[in-house]
Assembly symmetry: C2
């Protein structure tokens, strides 16, 4: 990694280069998921585990909010929590995720309890929450920048899953269609922030490392799903067992 | 899981039953490791990643120490940190682990920096440290009880690795031979503690869950090692690449 001070545009280019290499759209599990190569039980395992990640996003954002001393910044960031938790007028992303798990035939109790997820999922998700609690705010904000790469994977997922799976329809995928705009708005805001605030070479390196870390959080979850549920799957003790086996 | 109050002997039996089912001596990776089925690069990957776990054990014990209000208990627990970090007179377990990684031809800088370990290893190990920081002390102590099952796996490892690998000798395995007595002493102490202090049904259930959690911490590390390094290995970005590939 370069150790000279970057211009803000060079920093953006370096961040985008990390996505090209490490964002989880490159993971083989997503090729299987979007290409119609998974059985329903494997898609269930993905949605069940990913619920843990979804459920912790507003918690992660609340931790970040608690560390922001600038009310203007807090006001801008707060919308992320509303997007996931909802408001009196509109439902949030977590509710839309549950439409997906409902549509896949999973029981809400099973999903919401998170009792049957892979331990590796929980460890990765909790690492993300601890990261934003323990590291400087700049790194916490930078770790959200995987949103830069999300609209592309969301579009691929919507198209691929609608085409290939008869147990998927537009309503069950409403989480992803809604995120297309939200992720772009959120990513633009966070990108402007880190380009403005990462003023030293060292701060820029920490921003890049934060995005590496976040890519690892996402990638590791798919490694664990693949190991547990893709042939020959080895489901660990206590985790979700698809009907008919893996 | 039973929801009636157990006698202290029934609690011990329930804890030992968890080990029979979930302790990582049952993981297929250990059958490969102890049976001489791994190439040197795969044994290197195991020792490199496991260093992260070893290095965090005294940190985990320091967190527990910081939460103990009874000086008698602290004095008894403190010996664990000395066993790993060493004293002026005797070397500790971490130094002995580095004899193993030295013997395997890994550079100390690579090992100690932990820069090339699997993200899944780091997430699992940090989950353990956070667990003992965040949960009641009784659960933190209970999570150490995998030590009950350690002497057996250490004996199998020493015998199997000496027999099968020409790059392993008794000096490089001194960590495990030393742990045979230490682990037994530590496990007896912690077992007496939880049998005495887990007085309610609910406390007993939390003790059992803590041991489940700890078994997950160990098992998950081997799942990730297997996925990354056992044929067909898929090493994630930035992690250790054995010479000659996986």
């Amino acid at each position: 990694m370069s150790r000279v001070r970057l211009t803000s545009d060079e920093l953006e280019a370096a961040l985008r280069a990390i996505g090209v290499e490490r964002y989880h759209d490159k993971h083989p599990f997503h090729a299987l998921l979007h290409g119609g190569k998974l059985r329903k039980g494997q898609v269930q395992a993905w949605a069940l585990n990913r619920y843990c990640y979804q459920a912790h996003i507003p918690i992660k954002d609340a931790v970040l909010l608690s560390r922001m001393t600038d009310p203007v910044l807090r006001r801008a960031w707060r919308v992320r929590i509303e997007d996931h938790d909802g408001t009196l007028e509109r439902e949030g992303g977590t509710a839309r995720w549950l439409k997906l798990t409902d549509g896949l035939g999973l029981s809400r109790d099973d999903v919401v309890s998170m009792q049957r997820i892979l331990p590796a999922t929980r460890f990765a998700v909790e690492a993300y929450v601890h990261f934003v609690a323990d590291r400087p705010l700049l790194e916490g904000i930078a770790s959200s920048l995987t949103e830069l790469f999300a609209p592309k994977i969301h579009r691929e997922r919507i198209a691929g899953m609608l085409e290939h799976y008869d147990f998927i329809d537009e309503a069950t995928l409403s989480y992803f269609s809604k995120r297309l705009d939200q992720a772009t708005r959120d990513a633009d805001f966070a990108l402007d922030y880190v380009k403005r605030e990462a003023r030293t070479t060292e701060a820029q390196q920490r921003v890049l490392q934060a995005l590496h870390f976040k890519c690892d959080v996402l990638w590791t979850q798919l490694d664990a799903l693949t190991y547990a549920y893709v042939d020959p799957g080895k489901v660990p003790h206590g985790a979700f067992q698809p009907e008919g086996g893996v």
